[in-house]
Symmetry: C2
Subunit: 520 residues, 2 copies
């Protein structure tokens, strides 16, 4: 008789006590994850279609689920099950085996959750809520001083949070905060990679600006319904499975996944230019392919969870940029766009569309930045948030520091705080240590993509024919299927043979932009 295991990984645990503890642990993790997925559906619904006046009630529903999920994840029985598993070498000897991964990652999550006193969690929630309101008001009138008291409060609580969580002996408080988004990352490591990136990137952007030339724009105007069919067709070619996902509209595009069979992307449309919707849809599709590529058999466990925000972002950036801004992609997509947007199959010149998609020009707002200058926005924020958390920069001095650094790296004088240090929601929501994951995503994307091209000869010829399956399958096999088996840095080394570095991203950007802008 074949034994069946409801808990993947249990089949290698010979000791009955270990197995029992492990199975209880996995069942419990699945319950918490199931409820977490329900919470994420409530969030999706709120952004896509909830009636306007239901917001207050929805707030209560979400708070209730957050509380229930937190109670499950910090249930003291988890500690007992973990201790039993950790004491059995069969469960821990091979750190890449399924059971070992699940035990390690559930332990990590449990310990972090238990380290934060409820009073601090609640104080942070209140401060973020107040911070959000203060930020909105301050941004509306571009008056940074209005936001200072709230920001000071948030910073103080984040320093408390870091103290509770702790950081490596050779590290700093920022590391403790960033660890929530990019496990294992340190400011020192970010500094090393960003330090490699900055000079060549600033130089490249400066040389482009100095040409005074920009590619001509291409007419991609079309009604929303037409654009929607167009972007859905493109991501259908990328392999996004509409039987296991949806595409809807929201003010801020996002990807929400509660299970590999239920992955929901959103995008937004501007009638005058489909390239907006295309870019955000390809980006979210990259996130969605990761979520759909996780293995259902591991559902509810760390083996079916994304590694980090940086690796998640690498997937979205690769499909948005390495693929969606490639010449080969536009060879296929230009006639598709021409036909579907009602302009005629030959109306859009592929080379012109490729060039228009790769315009690089410094601007004030991060979320509107091109793929080269975007990273300069992130480098700026990393330096500032690190100093804020350390106490090297006072909240009230943020605008001056922002504006000085912005002009230095992007060559523009910031006209007001709304277009400067008040533009992002992150710090108001108490998210410190988050911004660098965006650029880490770009670095991982470039490095992984280089490897994919090496292993998959003729890859971009596929794109020119609307075929993307080889890349998607490669990513599924190398990245998605492993869940949290490896950390981000380790995954990068295993797949590409090298630690993450700035070289591939710089090589990618220079390789494209030097000829495009005639910088040769």
């Amino acid at each position: 008789m074949v034994e069946t295991f409801h808990a993947p990984g249990a089949e290698r645990l010979a000791n009955a006590g270990t197995r029992k503890a492990y199975e209880a642990l996995i069942e419990h993790a699945r319950e918490a994850s199931l409820l977490g997925g329900t919470a994420s559906l409530l969030g999706w619904d709120q952004e896509t279609g909830m009636p306007r006046l239901a917001a207050a009630h929805r707030g209560k529903q979400r708070a209730q689920l957050a509380r229930l999920v937190h109670e499950m994840r910090t249930d003291a029985r988890v500690d007992g099950w973990l201790a039993t598993c950790e004491a059995d070498p069969a469960c821990t000897a091979d750190p890449t085996a399924v059971a070992a991964v699940n035990v390690r990652e559930i332990r990590r999550d449990y310990d972090r959750s238990r380290k934060l006193p409820t009073s601090l969690v609640e104080a942070l929630a209140r401060a973020s809520s107040a911070g959000l309101e203060a930020w909105k008001a301050a941004r509306a009138c571009s008056e940074f001083p209005q936001f200072v008291p709230a920001l000071e409060q948030i910073l103080a609580l984040n320093r408390d949070k870091a103290a509770c969580l702790g950081w490596p002996a050779d590290g700093e408080p920022w590391d403790a905060l960033a660890d929530s988004y990019e496990p294992g990352i340190t400011a020192r490591e970010v500094d090393r990679v960003f330090g490699e990136l900055a000079p060549r990137l600033v130089s490249l952007v400066g040389r482009i600006a100095a040409t005074g030339r920009q590619p001509a724009t291409v007419d991609l105007a079309a009604p929303v319904e037409v654009q929607r069919r167009f972007v859905a067709k493109v991501i259908g070619h990328f392999g996004f499975d509409f039987d296991r996902g949806r595409l809807d509209i929201s003010t801020h595009p996002f990807c929400s996944g509660s299970h590999p069979s239920d992955v929901r992307l959103t995008t937004r449309f501007r009638e005058e230019d489909a390239s907006d919707a295309l870019g955000s849809t390809l980006h979210e599709c990259g996130h969605g392919l990761y979520e759909q590529g996780l293995l259902e058999e591991h559902n509810g466990t760390p083996m079916c969870s994304a590694i980090s925000l940086g690796i998640h972002e690498s997937q979205s950036r690769m499909w948005e940029n390495q693929v969606g801004r490639s010449r080969a992609f536009w060879t296929w997509c230009a006639p598709v766009a021409g036909e579907m947007l009602g302009k005629g199959a030959k109306a859009i010149d592929p080379e012109a569309a490729y060039r228009a998609a790769n315009r690089v020009e410094p601007s004030f707002i991060r979320v509107e930045a091109d793929e080269a200058t975007y990273n300069l926005h992130i480098l700026l924020r990393f330096g500032l948030e690190r100093a804020l958390i350390k106490g090297d920069l006072a909240a009230k001095d943020l605008p001056a520091a922002w504006n000085e650094r912005f002009e230095r790296s992007l060559g523009l004088a910031v006209p007001d705080d709304a277009r400067g240090c008040l533009q992002d929601i992150h710090w108001a929501m108490s998210l410190f240590g988050y911004f660098p994951t965006y650029t880490l995503g770009n670095l991982y994307a470039a490095q992984l993509y280089d490897q994919a091209k090496t292993e998959l000869p003729g890859l971009e010829d596929d794109f020119a024919h609307g075929q993307f399956a080889r890349l998607r399958r490669w990513l599924a096999e190398k990245v998605h299927a492993h869940g949290k088996r490896y950390g981000a840095g380790e995954l990068c080394r295993r797949v590409t043979g090298r630690p993450v570095s700035a070289g591939p991203l710089l090589g990618y950007l220079e390789g494209k932009l030097v000829p495009l802008y005639g910088l040769g």
Copy 2:
């Protein structure tokens, strides 16, 4: 200093112990209701847009929430809080006071939930799930015998369920089952009212059929998007608040409400005839106005819950039939329809549209039946399900009994079981005692509407001008605002001065159909 009460009704409880117990009771009820609302959103999402392959995962999410809600509702602390409240005359002396209503109804719910052993609840869930599959298969090939074993199992478990719940000394097992849907109803009472209804209704339908005449159809074909704007406009006039609700598409129209600020209607469209979508939208809008008319301050308690399925159905039927099939409604709606459906403002003759909307003709399928013959479908089902539960009719003998009665009351020979006793999902899902609430809804609708016309002179003149606010406000005040303060029968007596009877429905149908079909 003004004391604020989070628990409406607590302000009249002088005893601190009672108040504390009552407040705990209400807070707990609200928690359960909040989670129940989340469960209902999962259901709505599943019917309106969930990706096809997410069904298995969604099943797990819904089962988890059902379990959590059940655990909350049967929490033994509820019994203690209730006992404290019940012992204090300040809480119970006036049975229509807020606290008394909440205590009485939470007690009712608690006792019913606790009477059913978990093993029986689980067995019923399994039998319903298996029943549903067996029913689908049997219906697909119109082979009733395939469904018999599952139906027998469901019947046996429902008899067990009735035995656990108990029934009045002069009653029968069916009463125990129906009490879930229409609290306090008995087969004897249904029999009395349906007995009044049957002869005159059968006669009316027979006389109409004998004329051999039918009103001409009216062209209401239009694309789905156009129809959608049209029906949304009509229910906007009825007072459905789109800031507190939505209208979507599903295979089977329904109304799902998790809070008065979040009420979701669905409908369906046939391009060739907008009257389908109109009818189902007006029907669901009636349910939705009830949900939006419940008072938010009582949210999460019985004072913010509908009385019964029969009263709920009275609201949907009134807007669908008494309003939506009236001559006055079509005086306003015909030009609106003509214009919005792209036919020209004068293309649809109001009188012709009114007549077409009131076609009466016996047919096999209940959900496609007109408002007169519909009740004959229900009477048939009530008689049969009562006999099945009592044991007077064996499952295997259902088709013969169905067909014989069908021909007797509707004058048609049933060609096969798919168009006969296999057409409805209810019994396969273990819903016994449910069908009569549809006709009870029609009876309440007619009786309440008569009263509304008496109290609101010139009411139908409003309709002819597209004004429906007086009726909606009257219903909100007389019905919606009271939640479960009164039982269905008592509400009917209080509002109309008489117990429910067949007279108003018969008067309404004869008053309209006798002249329309020239039966004078």
